[in-house]
């Protein structure tokens, strides 16, 4: 398997709190994508971090990447109710046919209570 953890994780926090979600991967990658998925909708890319970046910020989102430990994290500062969603990390790996394919972890279900 691509991933160290296979089960969908669930987190529940209060509005205004900070939260960090982690993922680890086994296969070499040059990019880690973070997606959010709202109920009944397709995944939406929220932040992307490349292997030459240790940290990437976008608004209240912060992604980190540690290629030596093959792990990435996504932090949300001052979470809001609308941040409630399932969050996935995914790696963008070169396939045997020289094309890129995106491989997903199982995700973290985040619930932000008012």
């Amino acid at each position: 398997s691509q991933w160290g953890e296979e089960n969908l994780q669930a987190l529940s926090i209060q509005e205004g709190e900070d939260v960090t979600m982690n993922c680890s991967y086994k296969t070499y990658t040059t990019v880690v994508h973070w997606y959010r998925q709202d109920s009944g909708r397709g995944p939406a890319l929220i932040i992307l971090i490349r292997s030459n970046e240790r940290e990437k910020r976008s608004g209240r989102l912060r992604a980190t990447l540690d290629t030596s430990s093959q792990s990435s994290s996504l932090s949300i500062t001052a979470a809001q109710c609308e941040d409630t969603a399932v969050y996935f990390c995914a790696t963008d790996a070169l396939s045997s046919n020289m094309g890129y394919k995106l491989t997903f972890g199982t995700g973290t279900s985040l619930l932000v209570d008012p």
């Binding site: 994508h33 397709g42 995944p43 046919n97 995106l102 491989t103 972890g105 199982t106």
Partner: protein, 107 residues
């Protein structure tokens, strides 16, 4: 206007029947992908394509075929549908934009 669209959005099929799921993208991307999503498994890659006329097997291709007749269209075909193929199917195109999904139920 959505760049990746899928049809149908919902489908109920009978075991042994043929099912075709369609995906269209308007961004002129070479790469297109089909994933299925099941609870506890995240998204798993079924087939992908590098351009019109090409299809490649993903991580779980068994029981599925794919067709890329044009740059814009990529279909997923279940020749003999089984209940284990009940799932939500997502199409994506080259910039990793996903469609809204198709919920397939095989009875």
């Amino acid at each position: 206007e959505a760049a990746v669209t899928q049809s149908p959005r919902n489908k109920v099929a009978v075991t042994g029947g043929k099912v075709t799921l369609s995906c269209n993208q308007t961004n002129n991307h070479n790469n297109m992908y089909w994933y299925r999503q099941d609870t506890g498994h995240g998204l798993r890659l079924i087939h992908y394509s590098y351009g019109a006329g090409s299809t490649e097997k993903g991580d779980i291709p068994d029981g599925y075929k794919a067709s890329r007749p044009s740059q814009e269209n990529f279909s997923l075909i279940l020749e003999l549908a089984t209940p284990s193929q009940t799932s939500v199917y997502f199409c994506a195109s080259g910039d990793w934009g996903f469609g809204p999904g198709t919920r397939l139920t095989v009875l």
